[in-house]
Subunit: 248 residues, 2 copies
């Protein structure tokens, strides 16, 4: 069985800080680009586009994970999908505005809250959940809570699969699924962990678990005892389905 | 036969400017990340790493193409190569300093001018030429001229293959290989054109020609009449070996 380190929210935030510190040398633009590319590749490998099923609904939250989703939407377009983006709480910063602009140049459709349910139910082949990331805690607020209910219903009633980024939205990053009613009902089919899996997904039961974020150096891997697996070829994701946390 | 638009230096610079303008929405960090990733993937597909041949010498010039090379070196490390970087004229800017820092964190070796020839001749499986890009004109200055002579000799005498980025270094971006003595002698085995090929490589005779930079939107494709081919799967490069320029 593959064992790797599952991170607490605090450690995940520390690693992110390390990567973007002068001693890490990364800019947020670079990390977000590679994170979003990993997410797009995970969608491609899980649900490759076909003539009749190439519509991805990308649900973007208000923070950095929403940015990962915007990057992923761009790559998904180039991979042959027709992405639609729901991004209700936009972050007004040059990086995020630029990512939105790039998608507008691809004629990617942005939908509002009212259109979400009908879009998910009538013309969505797969959902990319980039709503909440490793900084999330507490209960999801509107309009995100209602969106999660829409996704749960579409998955149950219409088999619309959900690919979640890093932590299924509404799950507690440290404690997982049993901390709220909505989290208990939200069971993504596929998970893309970025950098390393988070403690909260130790009991993830979906079909597929990918690891992405192919940019961690061996010194950081050792410092945080991540025990990262080898990625194959030029892939930005590696299959870690069935992985378990190392003993703490 | 595949035909696509080959760009003049002036048009290539205009497209770059468009991409990074507010209406394009890209940051240089994003474009350089994707360009460098394309270059690394082209090296991988041309000369996949083996236990006995996994050493890449990445030669980085003073401008943005040097940055593409630094990004490529990082990805090559993650793809299983042992990159060594020659980067004699460093650009002192946060982006470039960060890229160097990332490589230092991977324990990638940086060599000076004195070590270049022995490194190329004794322990290099493939060279990535990221010296001059689409803004280059005139004659290569030292230490780059001498470096090109080293590469030419190693290729001739020891079959060390050369992968050039965008335009083989020393070739004229508009007019190609016949404008200087050193350019006439410099014949890379593989070329990675970024965004679209440049006029100067219309008569490129190497074994393989890749196109990279999977980020151009259809409106820009139409505006500049690029006639870009489809990229396969999630690849950041597409094989355009044998492509010819469209009639002007």
């Amino acid at each position: 069985m593959m064992r790797l380190r599952y991170l607490t929210s605090a450690i995940a935030q520390q690693i992110d800080k390390d990567l973007m510190s002068p001693s890490g040398g990364f800019s947020i633009d670079q990390l977000m680009e590679l994170a979003g590319l990993s997410c797009a590749e995970a969608v491609f490998r899980s649900y490759p586009p076909t003539a009749s099923a190439n519509k991805v609904l990308v649900a973007c939250g208000p923070g950095n994970q929403g940015g990962d989703g915007l990057v992923a939407a761009r790559h998904l377009f180039h991979f042959g999908y027709t992405p639609t983006v729901w991004y209700p709480k936009r972050k007004d910063a040059p990086l995020f505005n630029g990512l939105v602009q790039q998608l507008q140049n691809l004629s990617v459709r942005f939908i509002d809250d009212e259109a979400l349910e009908s879009t998910v139910n009538s013309e969505t082949s797969v959902v990319l959940d980039a709503i909440f990331g490793f900084s999330f805690h507490g209960e999801p607020r509107e309009p995100f809570r209602r969106a999660l209910e829409v996704l749960i219903r579409a998955q149950k009633e219409r088999n619309v699969p959900i690919v979640s980024v890093d932590i299924p939205s509404s799950w507690n990053v440290d404690e997982g699924q049993n901390t709220s009613d909505i989290a208990k009902q939200f069971n993504p089919n596929v998970l893309v962990s970025l950098t390393a899996p988070k403690m909260g997904v130790a009991h993830f039961q979906g079909e597929k678990h990918w690891l992405g974020g192919r940019f961690v150096d061996p010194v950081m891997d050792a410092k945080y005892d991540l025990k990262l697996p080898r990625y194959p070829g030029t892939s930005q994701v590696v299959d870690i389905t069935g992985a378990q946390p190392t003993e703490a």
